[in-house]
Symmetry: C2
Subunit: 193 residues, 2 copies
Amino acid sequence: MKYAESEVIEKATTLFWQKGFQAAGMRDIQQALDMRPGSIYARFKSKEGLFQLVVEKYVANTQQKLSTVIDDNNPLDALRAFFVSELINPEEMRFQRQCLLIKSITELEMLGDNGKQSVLDGMSTLRTCFKSIVEKAVQTNSLPASTPVDKAADWLQNQFVGLRTFALMQTDDLAIESMIDKVLIDLKTSWPE
Amino acid sequence: MKYAESEVIEKATTLFWQKGFQAAGMRDIQQALDMRPGSIYARFKSKEGLFQLVVEKYVANTQQKLSTVIDDNNPLDALRAFFVSELINPEEMRFQRQCLLIKSITELEMLGDNGKQSVLDGMSTLRTCFKSIVEKAVQTNSLPASTPVDKAADWLQNQFVGLRTFALMQTDDLAIESMIDKVLIDLKTSWPE
DNA sequence: TTATGACTTGAACAAGTGTTCAAGTAAACC
DNA sequence: GGTTTACTTGAACACTTGTTCAAGTCATAA
């Protein structure tokens, strides 16, 4: 085995994150992984099989980052720090500002059933994380007890999606931070109904 | 000329909106438009030329809808109505919940310079519309005079992006409406700095 | 030592891609 | 009436796509 699986997945993640599933051709993948088609197919079964592993690893990774937010004594500050670290990064990593899952959702119908399911499962996994964060914030009195947890979880994930698209196109880092602050303000204010 | 240009663009819009630029193959386009390759190339120069016209028409169309919001006496109510009409529609039009521009942004790098510019110009055109709405709302005292207009315009466009992705995946229309209401609440509350 | 099985190579394949082109049609203009 | 112009047709083109396969490598287990 020439390269460890984690190495390979990492390189594949970068490629899929930059180009998307469709646009990343097998020849791009072969070059990025420094592997020949036969190796890739023997190890990952297909382009989609590789993509699926990438998505699952991406979700697990994000989930882990979010779990440190949940475990923080001040979850809202930790959440802010998480947002900043995900959205403000050097130019050569700009592509990482977009969410790999959201990017994949736009090409969901071009994926087979397995790939599709991985993406959707990932979305729901992360939603659960956001819910836990809101719950923790309520427990620690960082948010009012009246906060509608489920609604706020959807909203928060939603804000994250919007922020990522905004950050992707935005060159002014301060504008991004300002947008993050707005999210934290609105999280504490009132909810409809 | 077998079909009027507006007809053709309309059909092409549906296709690109559903499948995206890349995934909509020339053979899909030929079928959707009921035209043979030569006709398409004689009239639109290339797949990207057609796409460009579609994007420009889409932007002009959205711009026009937003200008009725601007001209409304109660711009915030009109804005809410606009959101509802764009985000809550029958199942067979679900694909229209996603923003064609945002969908295109994810495949921006696969477009040539002209197509890319059309998409970016469209984004900035719509931002200007959102700014006018905020300005109008301030003028009519629907929003506090202290509202930072530029920041709010970015924020509003951003919210629209998030809402569209949310609505795309959401089956419960009430949850979408609730999310729209949250936007209108937050628009009126405080801003960072 | 031999056998197994996971992994690797690189040429090849069938199907799909966007695009071109010679030829034809028909309305508009001189 | 003749010429131009915009449009149409459908076969064909060169290239790219994801995938396969026979053959080879090499560590581990029997």
